[in-house]
């Protein structure tokens, strides 16, 4: 394995509404920022994560390439998933040995349509999508399966929003109050905010990483696992795939100071803490997490960036980032970062 590190991270100041910027306009500042941070103008590989259904246009990621300087031709790829999986692809590509840098980015504007029903389109077209099963409904089914203590859930939401308010990139959400239901047992305050945003990360190998950043965040473990798509085939109260990914990435091989979890609903944090075997001394989502800003298709990559930032600024020596995709935490990617 080649040593690969995160040497730069940038994200937009996420918004809860459409500011009117086109996708490539949303991306351009964060790409420029990581280029400036690293001094790199060209990268050995470029990979992005996004979802065409958010924009309602096929191949929408292609027009986003306008933000990159894609001429002369670059080596480029795209995943129709969160940018965290683009980072995984870039990490694999760097393992080939012939290049030593990669640019990764993820972006999404969930303000354009009704995210709740757009996410129905990712369900299987035979058994689930025809029922019109929507995102809040399947999340509520999982919340019911977990059956968590209401006070514990409230505390997760309260803590996430408070942390988000002190994070200049996250949304400024008030103290949660009110007990209106979204879909029972989910409360309206349990639902992640509609968010537009983007993020970019630069990966570099070995010596180059050392030259680009005084404190590179080395990827010491990275793995992803998946479970059956159909909800009735899974034990919803647990995440076997997150646990498998965490084991494969070696989360428990050392103390975890900070864990950034792609938990869009408070019960997901409970499931993930258990799956990743995080102890009580691990600080969870100091950025506020997706409950404070949920730029769909970038939120997982932001988790990796936020976990790396703690190492870059010297406040932590070992952190974990988690990203999820699919209904009810179907797919999970776990990254272990070390100073």
């Amino acid at each position: 394995m080649r040593d690969v590190a995160i040497v730069a991270f940038a994200q937009t100041r996420h918004t809860d509404h459409d500011t009117g910027l086109a996708e490539h306009e949303l991306i351009h500042p964060v790409i420029s920022e990581v280029k400036e941070l690293t001094g790199l103008k060209r990268f050995g590989f470029t990979c992005s994560g996004s979802c065409d259904y958010l924009a309602g246009a096929p191949f929408s990621f292609v027009s986003a390439l306008d933000a990159l300087a894609a001429w002369p031709p670059i080596s480029e790829s795209h995943v129709e998933m969160d940018g965290a999986w683009a980072l995984y692809e870039a990490w694999v590509r760097l393992q080939h040995g012939d290049i030593d840098s990669a640019l990764v980015y993820g972006f999404g504007k969930s303000s354009l349509g009704d995210l709740r029903t757009i996410m129905t389109l990712q369900l299987d077209p035979y058994y689930l999508a025809p029922l019109g099963l929507d995102q809040l409904s399947y999340a509520a089914l999982q919340a019911a399966a977990v059956g968590a203590d209401r006070q514990e859930l409230d505390e997760i939401v309260r803590r996430s929003r408070a942390d988000g308010r002190s994070n200049p990139y996250a949304l400024d959400l008030p103290e949660p109050d009110g007990d209106d239901f979204a879909v029972q047992p989910l409360r309206k305050t349990d639902v992640p905010p509609i968010t537009d945003g983007a993020a970019a990360i630069v990966l570099a190998t070995g010596d180059l990483a050392g030259r680009l950043h005084p404190n590179p965040a080395w990827i010491r473990g990275i793995a992803h696992r998946t479970e059956p798509h159909y909800l009735g085939l899974r034990e919803l109260a647990r995440s076997a795939s997150a646990a498998d990914a965490a084991r494969a990435a070696g989360v428990t091989k050392g103390p975890v100071e900070v864990a950034e979890l792609h938990a869009q609903f408070p019960h997901e944090e409970i499931i993930l803490r258990q799956a990743l075997e995080l102890g009580g001394d691990t600080v969870i989502n100091p950025s506020g997490g997706p409950l404070a800003a949920n730029p769909v298709m970038a939120a997982g990559l932001v988790r990796i960036g936020e976990a790396a930032r703690r190492i870059h600024d010297g406040t932590a020596s070992r952190t974990v980032a988690h990203a999820a995709s699919g209904p009810c935490l179907q797919q999970n990617l776990v990254t272990v970062l070390e100073a």
Binding site: G20, P125, G132, D134, S137, P228, Y230, L231, L233
Partner: protein
Amino acid sequence: MPSDPLVAQHVLEFPGGYTRTTGPVIGRFLSELRARRIVGVRTAEGRVLVPPLEYDPATGEPVTGEYVEVGPAGTITTSAWVDEPLDSHPLDRPFAWALIRLDGADTDLLHAVEADNPKALAAGTRVWPVWRDRPTGHITDISCFAPEVTKIVSSVRAEYRLQVGGALRVFLEGVERGVLLGSRCEQCEKVYVPLRLACPECGNTLPDTLELPDTGTITTFAINNLPDPRAPEVPFVSAYILLDGADIPMIALIGDVPAHEVRQGMRVRAVWVPESERTASMANIRWFAPTGEPDVELA
């Protein structure tokens, strides 16, 4: 620069729908639905997957060709309650999503459940499918599931022909004339109303028929909150009324007064229907209404 934001509506749609092939496994499930059967497929390890998949999610091995009819009833394992259905949802009124372990299956089917309230859908609740009128081979051939039948409402109705003779006939003929008839037992020194032929205490024949006034005193009463076809409205008050000169109270409705103002000792008088509408029936008295006299101290 325009001062207002430039906004456009944009719709993504496949007119007429998007055609998909089902393959043999999912196709079998959907075809069975058309015949109102729910089937699972058996894995090499013997588990029954419902709805069927081409592979065993645990091992990735192809499933066997054996299809097993399951359900149609099942048990809820998890549910979520939707107060405000979306247009895309199967029901247009509050309902639940549920994972349902159909009888004979080893995995859960996800579907909508119709119920009055979320409390009716705890884990363990038994549910049955409600089929669409004309199944076409689609997951929505099952309109929804509904809780198992645990109670029914059966109607009871029998008709009788009653004939009035004896003392009651005499009493009702009095009522038709606007008079309440009672009878007095000389031995027990008690006046009974309605009129009767024999004294319930001593058994003596009661010869004395006497006319009683239509005024009296409420001895006790009840406020009724269930509708009754004979009562004017809900709530209504039924009361024991001791007619002046009688020793036994008579039951009747109280009217022309709010229910919460009725009290023991209250003086009342019968409200008769107009003479032209009178019949030999207690319906002649609409109800008893307060006279406004001071209350009586009851012994």
